[in-house]
Symmetry: C2
């Protein structure tokens, strides 16, 4: 008798967990948290719903892991920009700031995903911990870049400078991602470079333009 049972392939724990996490992230990104049901996640990951609880203690557990994954990616993306950048500290900072204010970091999908989790920061201690770690990692990166600026323009309080610059970047990132149609093309990038430049008293815009003359 022919079995009408669905054929499948056994996969390693890593592969399956990755599939499920990615599926959850995609669903939350474009349908919000409520779209990430166990069945939808399973289908997108190419498995059946029952398998989720073979790899995660609960759906909530999977969501937590997904948040961690998303934040890890953001941190990695941010740090990666600096690998290719020239050693000049001003150019490095300009490159770093610019990366956060352009695609693919600026992206409606990403901000939706990020917002979907933000409420969890208020409720779930583990999500909160990850949020703080990621925030501080980004800010420390920024502070480090600031501290390597030419001595003359070195701010008295690097911590405060980093918090301020982080604020501008976050705010502009959010707005540009959420409602891009409100701004002119490239406007947010230029405004961000100018604003961070004024806070630090460095001309980031010129530094960025000379470095990337190929761009508009």
């Amino acid at each position: 008798m022919a079995s009408d049972r669905r054929p499948y392939k056994r996969e390693s724990e890593d592969v399956r967990r990755d599939s499920l996490i990615n599926a959850a992230l995609e669903l939350i990104a474009d349908g919000g948290p409520k779209a990430a049901t166990v069945r939808a996640i399973a289908e997108k990951a190419g498995v059946t719903a029952g398998l989720i609880r073979h790899y995660f203690a609960s759906k909530e557990d999977l969501v937590r892991e997904s948040y961690r994954r998303m934040m890890d990616r953001m941190t990695a993306d941010n740090a990666a920009v600096l690998d290719d950048a020239r050693p000049d500290p001003v150019v490095r900072l300009a490159t770093f700031v610019a990366a956060s204010l352009q695609p693919p970091v600026v992206d409606p999908t990403r901000v939706g995903l990020w917002a979907g989790f933000l409420h969890g920061v208020q409720i779930d201690p583990q999500i909160r911990k990850v949020h703080i770690q990621t925030y501080l990692a980004y800010r420390d990166l920024l502070q480090n870049l600031i501290e390597h600026l030419p001595e003359m323009t070195n701010p008295r309080c690097p911590r405060a400078a980093a918090i301020a610059c982080n604020g501008v970047i976050d705010g502009l990132w959010m707005e540009a991602s959420a409602v891009p149609e409100v701004f002119e093309p490239g406007e947010i990038l230029e405004i961000g470079l100018i604003a961070v430049g004024k806070i630090l008293e460095v001309d980031l815009l010129t530094a960025f333009k000379t470095e990337h003359q190929d761009m508009a």
Copy 2:
């Protein structure tokens, strides 16, 4: 035979709609969007679930209205600060910025509520419209304050200046609201005033301190 039916009082449409909207906002604020079920909303509003659809076409409709209400409140709060402020343009701007970086505007509950809706901005056209209107209203208010600054310090492009300042304020507001324990008391306020001041080349911090000598 004694009726075990729950006693009730007839109320006007306004009262009932207000109760339901407020209940929805409270629930979303401290339990996230998923906590705002029709039954929970009804209970918090002191009615039974069936009544919701007597005043709203659907739950989604109620949520939309709630979002509008929240945004209206934020706009009103922001504008209200300026009523009491002295006519001096620098002081007015400083007061306005400071209000956005202190309680009750800075508040974990508020940012949770705000985040709960942010995903809707990507999906629901009506929510998106309200979001844009509110954003532009705040930014225009800011731009207006900036344009009234002493001519010498008047920025060449008020629009860009307003976008930048709005960015700092939003970013710092979000971070201070989400994870206040990462900052020292009053730190965000001071950093925000300095940052906006540097962008506009005005000393907002001094203006704020002289105006509010009673504060730390």
